[in-house]
């Protein structure tokens, strides 16, 4: 399996991205292998979110090629989609549902089975034990973020996590816990691409960083 571990899970060649008439970045190459952590850095407006949206297929790149496990993504669209989990700025959490209902529906929409016990444990672990029966509208910003992040803790088949500013609005304890979950996923042979403006210590053997300021136009 040596070559399987060497094959990049997701790689991009000569990506460029434009938003409206503004070209954000061009000529970007990146690759993330199993067991790797990749941070996308860059100032505000350099295209971090746009890059993540391109990598998960929500947006179309202006130019460049995207490969999933060394195959062009349009040939392996189903594997690509099944293999990744994207959490954006917006939590995809419904105000009218309780945290558990939210978790159950978001897993079902993704097409994944959710073990109820595991989901409950994930919510308790992430610090929502006293809020299990409360409609999400009554939770704070940070707690809503936790509801969204609980999906990462309750076992997903996705090998690659794409996390856009996952640490926003979280307190120190939740940041540490999420960092632990990311590290565990990476050590278990998964991969994570994330963006952040906060210095967060994630304990993994290999990490890489792409700075979009270097590719700015």
């Amino acid at each position: 399996m040596a070559d399987a571990a060497d094959t990049p899970m997701l790689s991009a060649r000569a990506l460029s991205c434009a938003r409206g008439r503004v070209r954000l970045f061009a000529g970007l190459d990146l690759a993330v292998r199993p067991g790797e952590l990749l941070q996308v850095a860059g100032g505000n407006g350099t295209g971090k979110t746009s890059l993540l949206r391109i990598l998960c297929g929500l947006s179309e790149a202006e130019a460049g090629e995207l490969m999933w496990r060394a195959r062009p993504v349009r040939e392996v669209r189903d594997d690509w989609k099944a293999g990744l989990l994207y959490l954006g700025h917006r939590n995809a959490v419904k105000d009218d549902f309780t945290p558990l209902e939210n978790l159950r529906f978001s897993a079902a929409i993704a097409g994944e089975a959710l073990d109820a016990d595991r989901a409950l444990r994930a919510l308790v672990d992430i610090g929502l034990r006293t809020r299990l029966d409360v409609a999400t509208r009554n939770l704070s910003q940070g707690q809503r973020r936790r509801v969204a992040l609980a999906r990462l803790l309750c076992g997903t088949r996705a090998a690659l996590w794409l996390l856009d500013e996952p640490f926003t609005a979280l307190d120190a304890a939740a940041v540490a816990q999420l960092a632990g979950a990311i590290a565990a996923h990476v050590r278990g042979g998964g991969a994570v691409i994330y963006t952040t403006h906060q210095p967060v210590d994630i304990d993994v053997p290999t990490r890489a960083c792409v700075n979009l300021d270097d590719y700015a136009c």
């Binding site: 998960c56 297929g57 929500l58 947006s59 179309e60 189903d78 989609k81 099944a82 990744l84 994207y86 954006g88 700025h89 917006r90 939590n91 995809a92 959490v93 419904k94 105000d95 009218d96 549902f97 209902e101 529906f105 978001s106 079902a108 929409i109 993704a110 097409g111 409609a135």
Partner: protein
């Protein structure tokens, strides 16, 4: 595929149950418009019976047009739509489930309340039956076509006006076949043709609208 359909359907129904007030707007509009007509036009039974089908159909069409704009709005706003696009399940199936839930919440109540409205217009039992049957086949078509408009105008300012422009031309045939059925029956003509055409409209939109909406949603999220 079936399970994601069932889940999204259940989810949308549950959401609607938690915000009941939103759901009643379309029904309230329908009731209001159809109840004002007898007051405005006057109490002559013959005259009322003549305009009944047209008024009920136009009211149902406008009620759909007013409420369908919100079909994808809340999922767009909170990011759920992104997750739907990223799902391994076909987006068209998810869209179809959303439209089904929408029809059960706004279209079906109109059909169920229609017999009561028909009383105000002094329609005979047979005429009432025909109006209800045309609405039963016609309102799902209105919901499906409306979903395409809602997907195309998602995230646009002034989307409401645009959706009317986009969707109304598609609504017109449904309106003509639907409202025309009672007129034909009153004239002693055969109404099978109207029902066949309404059914054909429903089948075509059932086949095309979810795919078209899904494609429009992908573009809207880019």
């Amino acid at each position: 595929m079936l399970s994601v359909f069932a889940t999204v359907l259940r989810r949308d129904l549950l959401l609607a149950w938690r915000r009941r007030a939103d759901v009643l707007t379309a029904l309230g509009f329908f009731l209001l418009v159809t109840s004002l007509f007898p007051l405005g036009v006057g109490p002559e039974p013959e005259q009322l019976a003549q305009i009944a089908a047209g008024v009920m159909w136009v009211a149902a069409l406008l009620a759909t047009l007013l409420s369908v704009t919100r079909l994808f709005e809340s999922d767009e706003a909170d990011g759920t739509l992104e997750q739907m696009l990223l799902s391994v399940e076909p987006l068209a199936v998810i869209v179809l489930a959303k439209v089904c839930a929408y029809w059960l919440l706004t279209g079906l109540p109109l059909v169920l309340i229609a017999p009561l409205i028909a009383l105000q217009f002094s329609l005979s039992p047979q005429e009432t039956g025909i109006v209800c049957a045309t609405l039963l086949i016609g309102t799902p078509t209105l919901s499906l076509l409306g979903a395409v408009g809602a997907a195309l105008t998602l995230g646009l300012r002034g989307g409401g006006a645009l959706i009317a422009l986009l969707v109304l031309p598609l609504y017109v045939p449904v309106l003509i076949f639907g409202a025309g059925a009672v007129d034909r029956w009153r004239a002693g003509l055969d109404v099978d043709g109207n029902f066949a055409l309404l059914g054909a409209c429903l089948l075509v939109s059932l086949a095309v609208a979810p795919l078209a909406s899904a494609a429009a949603l992908r573009i809207a999220q880019d």
